[in-house]
Symmetry: C3
Subunit: 138 residues, 3 copies
């Protein structure tokens, strides 16, 4: 069985981190799939999906880390070419990736108790993001 779930979220951009676990769980519930997988995919080249213990400390730590590794104000060929300001947004998104696949066992994702699915928006302005939740199983 294949179930094509989808939802949108509003972000503030600028490393905004959103816990989307509940919306993914909702899609799984609607799908009726009890054993299978859920692929969570964010559309666009300046956002990413991963897991984290979702709490304010790590939210701040993740933003600091990415600013240190891939600074906003460094020179980027992307920005020179397109008169844009989001070279760092693209690189951060490509490094983390837009896709995450999670097993579904007995109707529930196999996440840990302190492991949430997050969307990170690295763009430099507020955005509305579309997230696909593709569910396969039985």
């Amino acid at each position: 069985m294949v179930y094509a779930g989808r939802f949108t979220v509003s972000t503030q951009g600028n490393d905004d981190m959103l816990d989307i676990t509940g919306s993914v769980e909702q899609a799984i519930l609607e799908s009726g799939v009890v054993n299978g997988i859920a692929t969570v995919f964010v559309v666009g080249s300046t956002a990413a999906i991963t897991t984290i213990e979702y709490e304010p400390g790590l939210k701040q730590d993740m933003a600091s880390l990415l600013e240190r590794l891939i600074p906003r104000d460094a020179p980027y060929a992307h920005e020179a070419r397109w008169h844009d300001d989001n070279g760092h947004s693209h690189l951060r998104a490509s490094l983390l990736g837009p896709s995450l696949t999670v097993p579904i066992v007995n109707g529930r994702m196999t996440l840990g108790a302190w492991q949430q699915i997050i969307l990170l928006d690295f763009d430099t302005r507020p955005r509305t993001r579309t997230v696909h939740v593709q569910i396969l199983g039985e």
Copy 2:
């Protein structure tokens, strides 16, 4: 067909890197799936799954790299807030990600000859880790 495989491993934490390829192969064998995919997922927010040429040199290089990019002894808001010592563990795990999906073709994963599936445990103490191997196919 969906097969829900699972196994546990004991780690030393502190960037311990384990080759789990054999355990994933065992789950595929038990599933009977000949063509499909295997999603390998580690439960918890301080461990990760990826592939590498599993040999002692790269084991050491990976630990050095992560210590340079995300140092253990840097200040983390997570640690200040929770009186914890594993801020770096969370960030390393989120960057690498908990999930890997590998094609199964003619009963075998499509890994390269020197490409193993590894679990990295970034926590600061020994842990028992649960790994799910969700197999879909025919």
Copy 3:
């Protein structure tokens, strides 16, 4: 339904970045799958798959970023042990990962308009790379 697609590409190594979106679309077309997922997987431990806005500026920015984070000329235990020159290639590949899963909805991948699937080859010489496109769905 499971469809096992596969293609090869020739790379220059040395951070060569190739847009493989068209080849993945071709495999989906051949599979006849309208709703499902495509898992794109590169064989080998010195190449990676992710998404990016594929344009010359970001191609240059990605290479610069990885050279800054994981320099080619730093000392690596892998190279000391095996008298090899590609320690950085392995680490870059493990960090980005060899696998990407994308939803297929109404016969098309759910990529953004400026979001392409890329193969990055980090090895230090030209290579021929095998990419598997495992498609599940209906």
